[in-house]
């Protein structure tokens, strides 16, 4: 086969894209490990237990407390996205199950981003300030606390978009498979 200049150019672009993908996977995994180490050593940083002076001291006890999971929910979602991105980039780099991995990535990351938005916009401020106040006469006063910020809203829209497009594209894949 004679290699035309167009083919050579296309090959060079593919090689450059693959290198970039591998670099992104390396960055993702590095951030994932830094993130996880911050989560694991957080009782020292966030004062979960003021008696703890050394990271990982009394590890199993605070790891199973709801407070630990509530405080770290956002970080955990970010770490999960990092991990999924590493898996996607590696799959794309080696060209393994491309469509399946893209659909899986879009669906899962979409759900995680939506959960993250819901949690950081409504649930965390609610837990922090309390949505229900007891007023005299044993009645409750409901106040919705929320934390609206531009990055979280972008995450929310992105999450919904990923879920919907993963659904739409899954349908095409099924149609194509049934056709073949």
């Amino acid at each position: 086969m004679i290699k035309t200049s167009k083919n050579v150019k296309k090959e060079n672009v593919t090689i450059a894209t693959n290198k970039l993908l591998l670099l992104l996977a390396a960055i993702c995994s590095l951030i994932f490990f830094i993130d996880m180490s911050v989560i694991i050593t957080c009782p020292v940083n966030q004062g979960l237990n003021s008696n703890i002076k050394i990271p990982l001291e009394g590890f199993p006890t605070w790891f199973f407390t709801p407070r630990f999971w509530i405080i770290n929910f956002e970080n955990l979602t970010y770490s999960a996205i990092m991990l999924l991105s590493v898996i996607l980039f590696i799959n794309l780099y080696f060209g393994r199950k491309i469509i399946e991995s893209i659909l899986h990535y879009m669906g899962t990351v979409g759900i995680i981003l939506c959960l993250n938005t819901l949690f950081s916009t409504f649930i965390l401020p609610g837990l922090k300030y309390g949505n229900l106040d007891v007023i005299p006469g044993n009645r409750f006063n409901f106040t919705l606390h929320y934390d609206f910020n531009i990055q979280t809203m972008t995450f929310g829209i992105l999450g919904v978009f990923l879920i919907l497009s993963s659904k739409a594209n899954k349908k095409i894949k099924d149609d194509l498979e049934s056709f073949v």
Binding site: T17, L21, L24, I27, C28, I31, D35, N75, Y78, I81, M82, S85, L88, F89, L92, I98, I102, Y105, M106, V109, L113, F148, I150, Q151, M153, T154, F155, G156, I157, L158, V160, F161, L164, S165, K167, A168, N169, K171, I172, D175
Partner: protein, 168 residues
């Protein structure tokens, strides 16, 4: 199968309306955020004075430089709007959808680069400090990586579409 498609189209219409609302909210939030940042400079200012300072702050390049990341994020929601519209019309892996995906990916990349590197460095330069400054946060890195993934997915989608078209 047709019922399933109709469901997705219906959902997409709802999300189109919601994302239009969120895009408007984001723009209002952005204006409010800029206004709040300038209104607290001097104590006991009335509304006219606050508005004057807000408009005067627009003359400073720092005002516009700090808008790089938020405007990219607003543009992402506007791109999402066009994609939801395409899904609502029943175009699945259409060029509109792929273009929307590419726009979202590139704007997320630009927004993240703006938040991490461009804005802090440009503000430093405009303050005559010089040098290169990084302001990294996990959120910005997540946006960068998801943006990169979307950009590559749109690229792969385009290649697949070309292959399909040549096959047909």
């Amino acid at each position: 199968m047709t019922q399933h498609k109709a469901d997705i189209q219906k959902q997409a219409m709802w999300w189109e309306a919601l994302s239009a609302m969120i895009a408007c909210l984001l723009i209002i939030y952005l204006i409010r955020d800029r206004f709040v940042a300038t209104s607290g400079i001097l104590p006991d200012m009335n509304l006219t004075q606050q508005l004057s300072i807000f408009f005067l702050s627009m003359l400073s390049p720092i005002f516009w430089v700090s808008l790089i990341a938020p405007i990219s994020y607003v543009y992402v929601s506007i791109a999402a709007l066009s994609v939801f519209r395409a899904i609502g019309k029943g175009h699945d892996f259409s060029p509109t959808l792929l273009k929307g995906l590419e726009k979202m990916g590139s704007n997320l990349l630009l927004g993240a680069c703006g938040a991490i590197f461009l804005t802090p460095t440009l503000i430093n330069w405009l303050s005559h400090k010089g040098g290169i400054k990084f302001e990294s946060s996990t959120e910005s890195f997540i946006i960068l990586i998801v943006g990169g993934a979307l950009y590559f997915i749109s690229d792969i989608g385009k290649k697949m579409q070309n292959e399909l078209e040549s096959f047909v």
